[in-house]
């Protein structure tokens, strides 16, 4: 159990180690400056994928890492976000910037709808239920004619780059900055969450629901709050992804692989830690992209074999993820006297 729980009391949110401030700010400046060095489009794509997956894993981290509920169907919220923007853009020509918040709200609404009956379940029951939910969404969208059934939606291409339609064909740099901004915003949201009272309560719920209950923490309400936050972080990534590749279908955006990869990234990096998903994504995504380039093309799922293997090895040897290699005092707040 976390000893921090016992000493947790309200302290200034920004009472942060100078080293962490330095680390974060230099990282942000570096990432903003990176395209100026003339990266080619492959590296831009690589970074975009890292940002996207880091945010998705961060979303999973909120429900699984902070509140301890293992969702195996998180791809559902990704798909909702993707369909929300694409559908309204194709049918009514509504800008993705307007439909994205709508997708976020729908996603949150579904999280409440799913969460109220399911988050009373615990452990394995919840994991199996979410696995079923992820697949149910895929089944329903495969047969829903209004949204293109199994063939999916094709977003019509604009003739030139357009910020309102969120399409950039000449260069990926704009996409890079959009994903980067979302990445940074999400990082700060989750960072603040992890240090707020809400974060401490969620961890109390995770570590000992009975004790949390005895401290007047409404366990199932807090689980639902975490689930909704997590779903709302996931949805905009679906929207941006749909605008990035311009074609979505149920097998792509509701694929169980999405639910797997967010789990894998978080567990690899370190679950329940704000830095975990970032470390996980920046290691796993390059491995997966490069293995696809050099080992793929034979019809084999080499990157999936690697995922499975890495997941098992991490679980056996480093259950706390790669973050546990980093000495604790670097990332912790200043010691209180």
């Amino acid at each position: 159990m976390d000893n921090k729980l016992i000493i947790a009391k309200s302290e200034p949110l920004w009472n942060t180690n100078n080293r962490v401030v330095f680390l974060i700010s230099s990282l942000i400046i570096l990432l903003f400056a990176l395209p100026l060095f003339g990266l080619n489009s492959f590296y831009l794509h690589l970074f975009i994928m890292i940002f996207m997956h880091a945010v998705m894993a961060q979303s999973w981290n909120v429900i699984a890492g902070f509140s301890g509920q293992i969702s195996l169907g998180h791809g559902a919220f990704f798909g909702i976000g993707a369909y929300a923007t694409s559908f309204f853009y194709i049918e009514y020509g509504i800008s993705p910037w307007i439909s994205m918040p709508f997708g976020i709200l729908v996603s949150g609404f579904f999280a409440i709808l799913i969460g109220i009956p399911m988050l009373r379940l615990s452990g394995h029951y919840f994991a199996i239920a979410t696995l079923l939910i992820g697949i149910s969404f895929q089944v329903v969208f495969q047969r829903w004619d209004l949204v293109g059934a199994a063939s999916g939606l094709w977003v019509p291409m604009t003739s030139e780059d357009s910020w309102s339609a969120l399409q950039f064909h000449s260069s990926k740099v704009s996409y890079y900055y959009i994903f980067l901004v979302f990445f940074i915003i999400t990082f700060f949201i989750v960072w603040l969450l992890s240090r707020s009272k809400l974060g401490y309560r969620l961890r109390a719920v995770r570590d000992d629901p009975q004790a949390a209950l005895s401290l007047c923490i409404n366990v199932s309400n807090y689980k639902i709050i975490a689930y909704v936050i997590s779903a709302m972080i996931m949805a905009p990534m679906g929207s941006l992804f749909a605008q990035y590749i311009l074609i979505i279908d149920p097998d792509r955006v509701f694929n169980i692989e999405i639910s797997i990869i967010v789990l894998l990234i978080t567990v690899l990096g370190g679950i329940g830690n704000v830095w975990g998903p970032i470390i996980g994504a920046s290691i796993l995504i390059p491995i997966s992209e490069y293995s696809r380039i050099y080992l793929g093309g034979t019809g084999g799922a080499v990157d999936l074999i690697l995922y499975g293997l890495i997941l098992m090895i991490i679980c056996i040897f480093r259950p706390d993820g790669l973050i546990s290699f980093v000495p604790k005092d670097i990332l912790e707040r200043k010691k209180q006297r």
Binding site: I70, H124, I128, L131, L132, I260, A301, L311, M312, C315
Partner: protein, 288 residues
Amino acid sequence: MTSEIILQAIVTGLMMGLIYALIAAGLSLIFGLMEIVNFAHGEHLMLSMFSSFWLWSLFGLDPIFSIPITILLMAFCGIITHYFLIRYILKAKMLIQICATFGLSIFIRSIAQLLWTPDFRNVDKPLLEGRLEIGSVFIGQPQLIASLVCLVAFIGLYLFVTKTETGLALQATAQDRHAAEILGIPSNKMFAIGWAIGLGCVGVAGGMMANYFFIFTDVGINFALFAFVAVALGGFGSIIGCLYAGVIIGLVESLGGLLIDPSFKLLYVFAIYLLVVIYRPQGLFGRY
């Protein structure tokens, strides 16, 4: 909608249900023993179907005769799984246990995809073919034999667990592994036996289904989902609960497909799962 069609659906559902029951029993045995849900259960089923297929395709052995070999192979696979993966995560957090078996499932499935490609295969001209006609109901012979074999295997499993000394030792370990160890029951060995038997059950089901089912690398996913549901429905760790739950799921699947819309079969089963775990979280025959 005539009564014959409904009767036909009930018979089909019953036969499928017995197979689900045996698959779920393997899962339930493992869960009862060490509180680990084997998320790779569907992939183990896929492996057993492929073992049956390759024995037929390479050595000309009919799936009916290769059942003992398939069972042995799957039991061996279970012991390997326990030895190389499960024994390291026995004391880990639940999250890590789920992730580890989930990782195993991805690993097995993708390896199979790499080795055997995602093509659909089937056993051509097995010994069991054709169908029986009883009144107005048609019963496929391989399906009938498969469900009967599964029922016999299920009864055998139940008798083994409740009547033999090893079975009682398994139950003792499931109840309290430390107390069992004090009484001289090595829990590590019991876990290995549990995995061997659990996957042996899957071997029976997979081997029998190879007679009439398409064999492909993703075949296990749906069966595993139904097995999870059956285990939760019957109560985690209750073996006899799996029989009832499996039959219920088989009936819901085939009747729902007939009466409403066959493309949403999964959703009906899912709805049953939700209803049961919300109103009776310990399942129909749960222990607690």
